[in-house]
């Protein structure tokens, strides 16, 4: 279709406006793209001259920094396994069994999970964790994340499983499979894409989170990257910018990689809407 003159002007105007907004969004991140590769990085933007990987070598040589990444990995993977396993079983039960009040359970779960959140939940959670003697352990962080993420994970998976015809499992059971066999051998492989979505979503949430480990952990040895990153200060109390920048980039890579994976595999569409 040929554009009329006013339409053409409108389109150019819209493009210019979108470009300006895009630049405004990118500005705070430009430092973060250049500084890791600059041996004399400061808080200002400077194009690295020459480009160097020296900052990364320093990070890799820093035991504490690497320990932080390992801790993030332990807590995220632990949390993800727990969330995915418990949510899959529960969502399957909510979808396929005739437990009375299933709809009500889903409703109450969603209600409470959005009410009990943030710092308001941290006081009682701190008390629960300390009364069972799990304070300052990986397992405390893993359990608290799992509990918090489960309601949403169950909701996503239930939606997904409801969309799968029951005839798959029914025919397996007619052929003599037990319900549990039907779940593991027939249903589980079909549900797998839904589980992948939950796994990625839970991982990104735990990996990037600051508040829960910040409150539940005390030992330097257990701190995930999100908290450990605050140790990159000189003795005078000024940030060591070169290290901070390189470490931030390494720490962000898994999240960016998973985002790209999801948008390639599923199309990002609306799955992303449930990040919070």
């Amino acid at each position: 279709m040929r554009l009329s003159f006013p339409q053409l002007v409108a389109r150019i105007g819209f493009s210019a406006l979108a470009a300006i907004i895009g630049i405004l969004f990118a500005l705070p991140l430009i430092w973060f793209i250049f500084a890791p590769f600059n041996a004399r990085a400061e808080l200002g933007i400077a194009i690295p001259d020459p480009w160097t990987l020296k900052n990364f070598m320093t990070v890799f040589g820093n035991g504490f920094a690497m320990r932080g990444l390992l801790n993030s990995l332990i807590q995220s993977v632990g949390g993800v396994i727990l969330v995915a396993a418990a949510a899959t079983l529960a969502a399957y039960a909510l979808s396929r069994s005739s437990i009375p009040g299933k709809g009500m359970i889903t409703y109450v779960l969603l209600l409470f999970s959005s009410v009990v959140s943030g710092t308001a939940a941290m006081v009682p959670i701190f008390l629960i964790i300390s009364s069972v003697g799990l304070m300052d352990t990986h397992i405390a962080v893993i359990l608290v994340f799992a509990g918090g993420l489960l309601p949403t994970a169950m909701f996503i998976l239930r939606d997904f499983i409801d969309g799968i015809p029951r005839t798959y499992e029914e025919s397996a059971m007619v052929a003599g499979a037990s319900p549990v066999q039907a779940f593991f051998d027939v249903a589980l492989p079909v549900i797998r894409p839904g589980i992948v979505v939950v796994v990625v979503w839970a991982f990104v949430n735990i990996w990037g989170s600051f508040l829960i480990p910040f409150i539940l952990l005390r030992s330097d040895d257990l701190m995930p990257s999100s908290v450990a990153i605050y140790s990159f200060y000189s003795e005078a109390g000024t940030p060591i910018v070169t290290l901070l920048a390189a470490y931030s980039l390494i720490y962000s890579l898994p999240v960016v990689a998973l985002y790209l994976f999801v948008s390639w595999k599923f199309g990002f569409r609306f799955f992303g809407g449930i990040k919070a």
Binding site: A18, L43, F112, T119, L150, G273
Partner: protein, 305 residues
């Protein structure tokens, strides 16, 4: 056994499947809700003798929070509550929702290559871990070398130490920047669900972009707008991320309710009072959540059976 009642899992197997999730959600979601109410009526502290043997103090914590002589004082509960309300109104309802709507509408007409680039920048602000974003903004706002002041000086405008001078506006803009991606994506998918023929018909009739937005786009996505407004209000009300940027300061000027709650409970170790703040936050969350769920009921009903 009729076909309709034939279920794939017996009650017993269903209960077993539900058990692990029920235990975790019970201990870390349901129990905290009731525990925080109990603690809010005590003088429990983290340290000292009231840590183990707290006394029941009735409504004392709540009376302290709503004490009219200190209510509006900086660093007090009332000040944080008002600050948080302004923060939600400006950064979520005005900032994120309007910017998201504008971006989603622009995305409909601009060339695909430009669309991808702009979307990447907006989504990056949302997807990156909060501490990384915090440091990036710290560098961006730095008085001596920061990108923002470099640009301002380049344009011949006065530079500023914005984290000290305008801390509230910094966190408002920061939160708008951080969260606009969600609204943009939600409105994007809402616009995509409108049949293209509606817009083509309007084109033929010679409608301007504004007329198409006002008369076709906006009315047809009204439901999505309400969903978006409730969700971003809830999230922004509970957000803790500005703490990373400002620590609640300078002199309590960015102490949102979540940050105030953190200070009372985990810096001043007053768990009783912190729990009372927690109860109020949860009650406000409950109102938002009920509005959201009653609005989304139709959708939930469809999921049920």
């Amino acid at each position: 056994m009729t076909k309709k009642n034939f279920s794939l899992l017996s009650h017993r197997a269903g209960a077993a499947f539900l058990a692990p999730a029920a235990a975790l959600v019970g201990v870390f979601v349901l129990l905290p809700f009731f525990w925080v109410i109990v603690v809010s009526f005590t003088n429990r502290t983290l340290l000292g003798k009231t840590a183990l043997n707290p006394d029941f103090v009735g409504l004392q914590n709540y009376i302290q929070l709503f004490d009219p002589t200190t209510f509006f004082t900086r660093g007090q509960f009332g000040f944080s509550l008002i600050l948080t309300t302004q923060f939600v109104l400006l950064s979520a309802l005005v900032g994120q929702a309007l910017l998201g709507l504008l971006l989603a509408w622009l995305m409909q007409t601009i060339p695909p290559a430009l669309k991808r680039i702009v979307e990447t920048a907006v989504i990056a602000a949302w997807i990156l871990p909060e501490v990384v974003i915090g440091f990036a903004w710290f560098a961006f706002l730095d008085y001596d070398n920061g990108t923002l002041n470099m640009i301002l000086r380049g344009l011949g405008l006065p530079a500023g130490d914005f984290l000290l001078q305008q801390p509230f506006w910094v966190i408002v803009i920061f939160n708008t920047w951080r969260g606009a991606a969600f609204s943009m994506m939600l409105f994007n998918s809402a616009f995509a669900s409108i049949p293209p023929s509606y817009f083509q018909a309007a084109d033929v009739a010679g409608a301007s972009s504004w007329q198409k937005f006002r008369d076709i786009g906006l009315p047809l996505i009204r439901g999505h707008v309400v969903t978006d407004l409730i969700l971003i209000t809830m999230w922004t009300f509970n957000v803790f991320t500005p703490f990373i940027l400002t620590n609640g300061g300078p002199s309590y000027r960015t102490e949102l309710l979540s940050i105030y709650n953190y200070r009372i409970a985990f810096r001043e170790f007053d768990f009783g009072k912190g729990a009372a703040v927690g109860v109020i936050i949860m009650l406000i969350n409950l109102v938002f959540a009920l509005i959201y769920l009653s609005f989304g009921r139709k959708k939930a009903k469809a999921v049920e059976e």
